[in-house]
Symmetry: C2
Subunit: 759 residues, 2 copies
């Protein structure tokens, strides 16, 4: 007996999709080829805000090689109703309007019409023949400006929701919510509430932060291939994070029952939250209905930037007070997130996370979701939390400095624990906040001296709450003693393997003896999106249940063979046993046909919540004060994985999240023209971090098992992106003594700040 | 309440695959297109029997555009062992040798080597450059000649099995078995046994019959597309009757665990038993392994005839005696089936069926499976039974005539019933033999006068025992109140619908609310071949079980919602109920997410046996005595369906089986050259019946429910082909007074017989 509690969990097997991914055999959305398939191209708005006076597709339709042209007029007009997207509830009319603009275009790149033709070039040329008469309107581009009463309105019909109720107040503020803990009182200005506790504070820091809109930056562009079949069923092949969420959204937009839509989820070349929403799918379907052929549309890179969902830019104000004993006494947060052309719930996610690492007696958080004439934002890895942590962790760092405390010790003193109440109401369950901080404190990186001029070390902490949601699996036993596992979760990051490993653990098999299949929506039960770090957690749990269902049935078979009661049979480490008699899993698998036929297990779960994950980052930087260039010298990511099912995959998530966090910190932003056009919509101009920018990311997996999950798993996909920008900003401050409060930490801004300090 | 016992069973909904089939959207094996796919061509033997002295592929390999060449040397050499094919047990070495000949070629068309190239033409040209040095051997072409001690041997290593034991006797007789009922005694010649009872007989008829080798005649040629992946898994797309049986056979031939092979069953353009065996699949896989690309091979029509499995030609001797009271007192049968190049178990199937319609006190059946230098035979719709019934039903007709009895009354007098012992040992369960005969007797066709010269009416009866075997299904509930049904049974004849209807009946849904998916072997539990008329019977039963598993789980959900015990909830006609409270299936389906997640039901069965089906045929013919042309004036098919799930589909089976039986009766045969080459291997020369040959087939569905099956279903795919040749031969006799005892009933033979009678 090893002293490891598990045989499979915690090992590092080869990924099931490894060979296909490294040989190029894996099929992504744009690899789909169907007989008779034609190609679509989407015409998009050149204006950030304009009314469509007239739309004439006649010339495009007459262009040789064109098979169909569609506009918003081809969308069904079923009555409006609220629909639940992953990131919040939206009116159906807004979901449809983002697919194809009807009366107004709301951002540059907003889809206006689409053409299907014999090839992409003909489709693009024909699209240029579509005549659109636009009446340009003033564009709303700045979140604070957008909140003003006199700002131009993105939507005439938008009414602010405040504290959960819809008001009569028109404008660009989609939602205002407030979280309150402890004692609060009316603000001296008469507007809103302030927490008590600042009076007790020995130091108070109050700062305003801004973060730019950034893109998930996946390499694979959005794509969709659709066939509207003669029997009224719509088949869609797409690179999506959720076959079932895509099915549902396509059905909403096309006004079909969900079962009339079948989504084939293709391999996904990067998503990070950006491939939950649908964009091209209904357009390809409508084109297919018109021309009777399968239609494929693949976005050019420009459209990926301009017309999919980047993450909100924000303005966040944080005020925190602490006593000399190192305890935070009060916090007040004001946060405004630009949601793009349509509302989104990301500000609330940021508010759930911003103070979650800390036990703060009195706090008030006011959050605002604000629409602007920019692309409709979408989740991006711990959506809303990275912007929030940049603000809060900068202020926490400043507080620690003012109190003369080590920044990790200061955080430990205030760290949230099991039972600490979160700003959004519930208490923390068993969490690893303290354990992550202790791992940071004890890490050689943190203890190593950092010598040299203009060098500094920063730390930060981040939280993501993770989600549960519904998942389904089936497991069929093969006569050679292996099993096939059918799952509804799209595999973005090796979850075929992390889920298969959980089944293997139950079944006493090696991971390679569990063959996972990511199924289409016709072939498995509904399974929520791969997002919220839920997949290894919830679908792994469903696989665990399905594996137990297999074992239950196989015990019945063994009972038949041995002529005993099923209850008299045990199963451990792959062996069925009653008294002295034993049969291995493989031996019994070979006898299923004779004992009643195949064995299929089924598992389905819908955990209401999931254990949250904390992540820490330690960053060493060197600043060139002449150019403002920030060089990362060393970077360590630490994260509570609950139980790391596949440590290599967990480390990969931490490295990936850290690299993206480095991009947020130093380079990435949407640059805007005065008219609201994105000025850098190519991968040459939108600066993602490269191999030269990112040092080897050291990783430390902390394991504080989630007591709710059968194996203690916590989702690990997201929390790791949260702390890097704050850690790097704090490191820059330690290096050169200036604090930048705007992401990205641009070289020009740093040079300006250094010069300003000198003057 | 209707007085129909079922809401769905017995209705005639539109087929789920209807739109795809009529629009051409359905994808058959040859429609598969994979990135980088190349094309294979198989080089085949020009000799019926020859030793391969030398095989040189050098020039083919060097031909421009060639990517790989394979021969039997590329097959693995794992130790020989018996493997269970659907039609019997064969040594693995024979299964491999039929895929690619190693030392000897055993029939013209036997595969010798294969080439993969950039296109079919290059592959074919390169194949012609393969140098094969053959030493021709004398070919064994006649079943009776093959049985002689001094006949050339097809296999050096074949040892006869006799009465279930392997003997030391070498030769071409693969198997000799014997069925005995009642009292028997040693034959006067000292060889074998004869039944007692002939002494009591008032009339005795003893005749010899011959039937030609015929082909299933499906329009879609055999095909296979294979990818040997870098991770060692082999993916195969093929038009097959059984994805799992193909998986197993491919794994045998390639010496892989079954789970390393995944078979995607494509739509099938006709099979009838001929698409159970594998031919091209391992060849395409070996080519793919060599060249690293997907390889597709599609048989030319010539190869379909020469190298797939037609049905055995036979020589059958039947002796029957009957008393004046109309009771058959004894029967003796001697039957020899040519199995082609390798053994096959079809003679035993014929022996199980030949006397099954009758209660005969004393009988002996001796059967011989004999190898010859012809293609290895395969099942064809009630395999072995049609040839046997032609013989027995001709003799029965003659007996009735000699006794002056109506042929149906004579059959009724001797008809098998529940409890009648079958020649192969077991007693008949509840069967519909009498009911089918009564339906024939009462049918307007049988009662209608048939006037005019050279016209005659014949009848015959046929039996097929049907099989059970293993099947698996899963059913997932959609939130819109529909379900998806995943099944492992390939759909040859509308079984998507006949299976979905059984689930719909349980779930209280309409058939179109059950969406069936035929899955690949990675995505559902093992399911036996679509054959033996088992699919609607056994997979329908699995769907019934899966549907009940759904309802059990949904009752638990309803119990949660209503806060009652699941046992307190009833489900009837789509409505869950406890006390006064009700929820429809759709209402509850919409609430699964909130009550614990998705619901998936699973069902698996493996019935050891199935209820046999009886079919009758009534044929009116007109003979042109000058030309020998037989024109069918009217044809009626009657069959016991147990419970007809989808009567239109049942009628379709009866019409299809009758049309094929008409082909056997009048036209179809392999014509042979003296050297053992097929002389008519094209659809121009191999004479299948056309629309001009086949009158509208009237159908009568008899329903004698099988008490074992939850809905009383009996398989209906096969028994209908059994009686037509005998019925037509009997009709020809009634028309012109000569009995032909050789199939097909060729015009030339009829003219000869009429002339002989005149002389």
């Amino acid at each position: 007996m090893s002293d490891r509690p598990y045989e499979v969990i915690g090992t590092r097997p080869v990924r099931h999709d490894g060979a296909d991914k490294v040989t190029g055999r894996a099929k992504f959305g744009a690899d789909v080829r169907l007989p008779g398939m034609v190609y679509g191209y989407v015409l998009r708005s050149p204006h950030a805000h304009a009314r469509i006076r007239r739309l004439d597709t006649t010339r495009a339709e007459q262009f040789p090689g064109v098979l169909a042209v569609v506009t918003a007029a081809d969308l069904p007009e079923s009555p409006d109703r609220p629909v639940d997207l992953v990131e919040g509830t939206l009116p159906l009319r807004y979901v449809r309007a983002n697919v194809l603009a009807r009366d107004k275009v709301l951002y540059k790149g907003h889809a206006v019409a689409a053409v299907a033709a014999v090839n992409r070039h003909v489709a693009e040329e024909a699209a240029s023949l579509i005549e659109v008469d636009y009446e340009p309107l003033p564009a709303v581009l700045d979140v604070l400006g957008a909140m003003r009463e006199d700002a131009p309105r993105v939507h005439e019909d938008l009414r602010m929701r405040e504290f959960g109720e819809t008001t009569e107040r028109a404008g660009n503020i989609a939602e205002h919510f407030r979280f309150v803990l402890g004692e609060v009182e009316p603000s001296p200005t008469g507007e809103g509430l302030v927490p008590k506790g600042f009076a007790d504070a020995d130091v108070i820091v109050e700062r305003e932060f801004r973060t730019a809109m950034v893109h998930q930056g996946y390499l694979e562009p959005q794509n969709a291939t659709a066939l509207w079949n003669q029997d009224g069923r719509v088949y869609v092949w797409t690179s999506t994070q959720g076959a079932f969420s895509a099915r549902e959204a396509i059905a909403w937009v096309l006004d079909l029952p969900v079962s009339r839509v079948c989504v084939y989820p293709m391999e996904v070349g990067g998503a990070f939250g950006g491939k939950i929403r649908i964009y091209l799918e209904p357009v390809a379907a409508l084109l297919s209905r018109k021309c009777g052929r399968p239609v494929q549309i693949v976005m050019p890179r420009r459209d990926v930037f301009e017309a999919t969902g980047p993450t909100p830019g924000t303005v966040i104000r944080v005020k925190m007070g602490a006593r000399k004993d190192g305890r935070i006494s009060a916090a007040q947060v004001w946060m405004a997130y630009e949601t793009g052309a349509f509302p989104s719930g990301q500000c609330a996610f940021g508010a759930m996370c911003i103070l979650a690492p800390y036990d703060i007696p009195n706090l008030v958080i006011d959050g605002y979701d604000v629409v602007v004439n920019k692309p409709s934002t979408a989740p991006y890895r711990a959506p809303g939390a990275t912007q929030a942590a940049f603000a809060a962790e900068s202020v926490v760092d400043e507080l620690a400095e003012k109190l003369g405390m080590d920044p990790i010790e200061f955080r430990l003193k205030n760290a949230a624990r099991e039972g600490t109440r979160r700003a959004d109401g519930p208490k923390h369950a068993r969490i690893g906040c303290v354990e992550v901080l202790e791992a940071m404190r004890n890490h050689p990186h943190y203890r190593a001296p950092l010598e040299g001029q203009n060098r500094g070390r920063g730390v930060a902490l981040g939280y993501w709450f993770n989600i549960g949601w519904y998942s389904a699996c089936t497991i069929s036993v093969n006569p050679d003693g292996t099993v096939n596992l059918v799952e509804g979760s799209v595999d973005l990051s090796g979850t075929r393997t992390s889920i298969a490993m959980q089944a293997a653990e139950v079944l006493g098999l090696r991971p390679d003896q569990v063959h996972p299949v990511v199924a289409d929506t016709d072939s498995i039960g509904p399974t929520a999106v791969t997002g919220g770090s839920r997949t290894t957690y919830a679908t792994g749990w469903a696989a665990y249940e399905a594996a137990h269902d297999v074992i239950r049935q196989m015990k019945q078979r063994a009972a038949m063979i041995w002529d005993v009661e099923p209850a008299a049979i045990s199963f451990e480490r792959g062996v069925f046993r009653t008294g002295e008699r034993t049969m291995t899993f493989a031996e019994l698998a070979a006898r299923l046909e004779e004992t009643g036929g195949p064995v299929i297990g089924r598992g389905a779960v819908n955990p209401a919540s999931a254990g949250g994950s904390f992540a820490g980052a330690i960053a060493d930087v060197e600043v060139d004060p002449g150019t403002g260039k920030v060089r990362l010298l060393r970077f360590t990511s630490l994260q509570d994985a609950g139980r790391a099912v596949h440590p290599t995959a967990v480390e990969g998530q931490m490295q990936g999240g850290s690299a993206q966090g480095i991009g947020w910190a130093l380079f990435e932003e949407y640059a805007w023209t005065a008219e609201g056009a994105m000025a850098n919509s190519s991968l040459l101009d939108y600066r993602e971090p490269t191999a030269l920018d990112v040092p080897p990311i050291e990783t430390v997996i902390v394991e504080v098992p989630d007591p709710e999950h059968p194996f203690g798993v916590r989702g690990v996909g997201e929390a790791n992106i949260v702390p890097p920008p704050a850690a790097i900003a704090n490191a820059v401050y330690r290096a050169v003594g200036v604090r930048l409060r705007q992401l990205p930490l641009k070289a020009s801004a740093l040079v300006d700040a250094l010069r300003a300090r000198e003057n």
